[in-house]
């Protein structure tokens, strides 16, 4: 009896600690952001954390915190802001125990292929899996099949070979599948009416009704920094904000799998960074985790946040980070400098090959890792304005 009780206790404490740990870590991180004046990031994370509690009253408080931040961010934040934020964080801390993190397989694509009737392009068989919390990036040059792959995954294009399997859905029809996944094309279809009404509508058709609908829309507007634009129409906002609104609209539908085709195309550099990190956070949300599949030309940005990156070239998957990146046979460095080729070759001392594409030098070395090359360059007094190790990046194939 005692042993059984002890066993239960151990199981409970283990589960409790395992469950609370990441959440407590998040709260601690947010408090750290607040202390170090990373207020914008802190507010975004507070919103994320409050969403994970699935408590409307906490969400409302988080929205108030965000509104307070927007109101005073130019003039300087008042002490009441920090007070409110910390009080809220404490409340969140107390309710996080109800959540457990687990990953579930969302979709399995087995050898899916597509050949267009009119044209020579064909997508060669590709297999991939997406789980909840996964961010899977598809990179590649224009016209190589990224969009075709995404549209196949989204159920928009009929497959010529292979199959898609959605383990979470019991005998789903195509409508049900399309209800569970969301596809944001590069060219976002025009919206009509006020942007906020579109958000309310999207939430309502996904079962988010009444007060919850209002709170969730306000939340999403704050989360994606769209509140000032909520009452505008499509023609009154820039293409970057249209992308953000589309993301907000889709997220309100609580999709299990989010597929984005070139979401960064219309965003400025800062927005690209923040949207990508936000997407990663949202994918790994405790409350509503989802899988994300996105394509982009911004290799480094995607690589930073994606769990797996697929490089598509001429319809085939040329490279996949993770397993394949272990197969790298040489160290590859990307370098931007005012030094000339001869100076660089002198530094390398025949331990590496040098290529110049007009903007960057690419150094391939079988023996010198990135740190050593950097040390040599610095020691030799070579001016460096940009340096990146692309040994494990898809960039080395492009």
């Amino acid at each position: 009896m005692l042993l059984r009780w002890y066993g239960n206790f151990r199981f409970f404490t283990r589960t409790f600690i395992l469950t609370l740990k990441p959440m407590h870590k998040r709260i601690a991180e947010i408090q750290s952001y607040l202390q170090h004046n990373d207020h914008s990031l802190a507010v975004r994370r507070i919103l994320d954390a409050s969403l994970d509690t699935a408590d409307l009253s906490l969400l409302k408080e988080a929205i108030q915190v965000s509104q307070l931040y927007r109101q005073y961010k130019e003039a300087g934040l008042p002490p009441s802001f920090f007070e409110t934020a910390n009080t809220l964080l404490n409340k969140i801390n107390n309710v996080t125990e109800r959540f457990t993190e687990s990953t579930r397989l969302l979709v399995t694509a087995t050898e899916i292929g597509k050949t267009y009737g009119s044209g020579n392009f064909s997508l060669k068989p590709i297999s991939l899996q997406v789980k909840t919390g996964d961010v899977l990036g598809i990179v590649g040059e224009n016209g190589n099949g990224k969009t075709t792959l995404l549209r196949c995954m989204a159920g928009q294009l009929a497959l010529d070979s292979g199959e898609l399997h959605f383990p979470q859905l019991q005998n789903p029809d195509h409508y049900e599948i399309k209800h569970q996944l969301a596809f944001i094309p590069q060219r976002i279809p025009k919206w009509y009416g006020q942007l906020k009404d579109n958000l309310h509508f999207s939430a309502a058709i996904s079962g988010v009704k009444g007060e919850e609908n209002t709170v969730m829309v306000d939340f999403m507007l704050e989360r994606l920094d769209l509140t000032p634009y909520a009452h505008l129409t499509w023609n009154q906002i820039s293409s970057g904000y249209r992308t953000r609104f589309e993301i907000a609209r889709i997220l309100l539908q609580k999709p299990k799998l989010l597929i984005l085709d070139e979401p960064l195309a219309n965003l400025d550099i800062n927005a690209q960074q923040s949207i990508l990190t936000d997407l990663r956070f949202m994918a790994k949300s405790v409350h509503n985790p989802m899988g994300i599949l996105l394509s982009s030309q911004q290799l480094h940005e995607v690589e930073k946040i994606a769990d797996t990156v697929l490089l598509i070239k001429k319809g085939s998957c040329l490279f996949r980070t993770g397993e394949q990146e272990k197969t790298a046979t040489a160290f590859v460095i990307e370098l931007e400098t005012t030094a000339n080729r001869d100076q660089l070759l002198t530094v390398l001392a025949a331990q590496g090959e040098l290529q110049f594409n007009g903007g960057f030098y690419t150094i391939n070395s079988a023996t010198l890792p990135a740190q050593e090359i950097l040390t040599k360059l610095v020691t030799a007094g070579i001016p460096i304005s940009y340096f990146r190790d692309i040994t494990h990046s898809t960039k080395r194939f492009i």
Binding site: G155, G193, F201, A204, I205, N213
Partner: protein, 504 residues
């Protein structure tokens, strides 16, 4: 929805917001806006029509009004379809109730019905104005009084001899076909030789079998029996000087016939003083119905060759009065009997047709919708051409229509085992949806034609297989029920499957 809309009250904004947050399926049909603005427009239109300076005695102005209002209704319909019906739960793959398609169809029907009803406002208001201006009893009494007074004033002119026909009973084989009078009436008594009789024509001698003879005798105003099988049948001179077109059979029973007028006035010759009073009263009555436009009639001068009847008509300007009364009656009885059924059918089928087009538009891609319209038009043209060249009869046309229904149903059903979205199955599904309500009435017509054909093959011609009109209403109702049942079952599933299928 916070977009500033003109004349949108606060309660409607609250309704709009509540529906948006809680019932997106209903909100997206915008029925609340259509109902509100539709009723507002109906009221404004009703007031404008009521204030229209159009005398009930004048010719109806409904046709141009209906034309004008139909244009406005068309614009309203387009505004609703293009600017309001932009949110679609179905096309956004939202959560839809199993009866979503049926409910939205019903809401589209109500909205379309309100827009179609715009065209009915002016005729209804015109009828109301006519009813308010003149009651039926008043008109009937006035027409009778006018006829009596004219007869009293023109009494001397009607003291001549009556026309008569000689009517003889003969055996059936030798009977001569005789005219049949619809206005036969039964008398309480007969007046024996009221005046000296004269035959209009020595050939006005009719021979009837027993049935015809009996009908003729019963319908006679006055009789002189020459022998059991031979009568002189007298006809009262035409004393209904004012005989407007009535538009309602019921009124005729209350109007005094020639004979009744004769009985009322005959033998009561009025004095000069009385005639003066009668004339004044008559003038008042005539003025009551005289519409200025038709007052041009009396300017027509009396000609030397004019008959007694024509002289009286011109003297009292009766044609104009008659037109005025007919116009009033036409407006009053516009909604009676078969006309009402026709108006209801026009309303129902227009509403149903537009509703189906909207329903299809909201459940299919824009491209497939327009391809379906094009395909429907082309199929109709080719079918009509082929059937015309083949000199097809009604039964073949109906068989062809039934074959099309089966074909479209089959093609539409392929969607349930298709792996790709096909334009052909989409077009077939759309056309089937559009025509399915007409299936029962087509089958009824087909059965009727089949029975008719069987009868003709057996050399039976003047017999109807059954009362088609009676069963047609059941078939029409059945068609609507069939459509609703299919929308909530087969069609909603077929559209759901077709729309979500991946494209090639």
């Amino acid at each position: 929805m916070n977009i500033k809309r003109p004349l949108m009250p606060g309660f409607l904004k609250r309704v709009d917001q509540k529906l948006l947050l809680n019932k997106p399926g209903i909100w997206s049909t915008r029925i609340h806006l259509v109902v509100y603005y539709g009723i507002l427009f109906l009221l404004v239109l009703g007031v404008i029509c009521f204030l229209e300076p159009n005398d009930p005695r004048a010719n109806s102005t409904t046709e141009p009004w209906v034309g004008f209002v139909s244009l406005i209704a068309g614009i309203g319909f387009i505004v609703w379809m293009i600017y309001l019906l932009r949110f679609n739960v179905f096309k956004k793959y939202g959560i839809i109730h199993p009866l979503h398609a049926l409910v939205t169809f019903f809401l589209y029907f109500i909205s379309t019905g309100i827009i179609v009803s715009f065209g009915y406002v002016h005729p209804i208001v015109e009828t109301a104005k006519a009813n308010m201006a003149y009651s039926t009893k008043e008109i009937v009494d006035d027409v009778n009084n006018i006829n009596i007074k004219i007869y009293q004033l023109e009494y001397n002119q009607f003291q001549g001899k009556w026309d008569y026909d000689t009517v003889e009973l003969v055996k059936k084989d030798t009977a001569v076909a005789a005219p049949v009078y619809d206005d036969a009436q039964t008398f309480v008594d007969t007046i024996a030789a009221p005046v000296e009789a004269v035959s209009r024509n020595e050939y006005d001698h009719y021979q009837y079998d027993s049935t015809g003879f009996s009908n003729k005798i019963n319908a006679a105003d006055s009789l002189i029996k020459l022998k059991d099988s031979l009568y002189l049948v007298y006809q009262t001179p035409q004393l209904q000087f004012l005989d407007p077109y009535l538009y309602n059979v019921g009124i005729k029973e209350h109007l005094l016939s020639d004979f009744e007028l004769f009985r009322k006035v005959h033998g009561h010759r009025s004095t000069l003083a009385q005639q003066d009073t009668i004339y004044k009263e008559l003038s008042l009555l005539l003025k009551k119905y005289e519409y200025p436009v038709y007052a041009s009639y009396p300017t027509v001068e009396v000609g030397t060759s004019d008959s007694r009847w024509e002289i009286i008509q011109k003297k009292y300007r009766l044609p104009g009065i008659e037109s005025s009364i007919s116009h009033v009656l036409k407006k009053k009885y516009r909604w009676n009997g078969n006309d009402l059924q026709v108006y209801i059918r026009i309303f129902y089928y227009l509403t149903l047709g537009f509703t189906l087009l909207i329903f299809i538009f909201r459940h299919t891609t824009v491209r497939t919708f327009f391809l379906s319209i094009l395909a429907g038009v082309l199929i109709t043209i080719f079918t009509v051409l082929i059937l015309s060249f083949a000199r097809a009869e009604a039964i073949q046309v109906l068989v062809c229509l039934s074959a099309y229904v089966v074909l479209f149903l089959f093609l539409a059903s392929t969607v349930f085992w298709a792996k790709k979205r096909s334009a052909i199955s989409g077009i077939a599904l759309n056309i089937f949806t559009l025509i399915v309500a007409a299936v029962p009435i087509s089958l009824l017509a087909l059965y009727y034609e089949y029975r008719h054909r069987q009868l003709r093959l057996n050399n039976i011609y003047d017999v109807e297989p059954f009362d088609l009109e009676k069963y047609a209403i059941y078939a029409e109702v059945g068609g609507s029920v069939l459509l609703l049942v299919l929308i909530s079952t087969y069609l909603s599933k077929a559209y759901r499957r077709w729309y979500a299928l991946p494209e090639n």
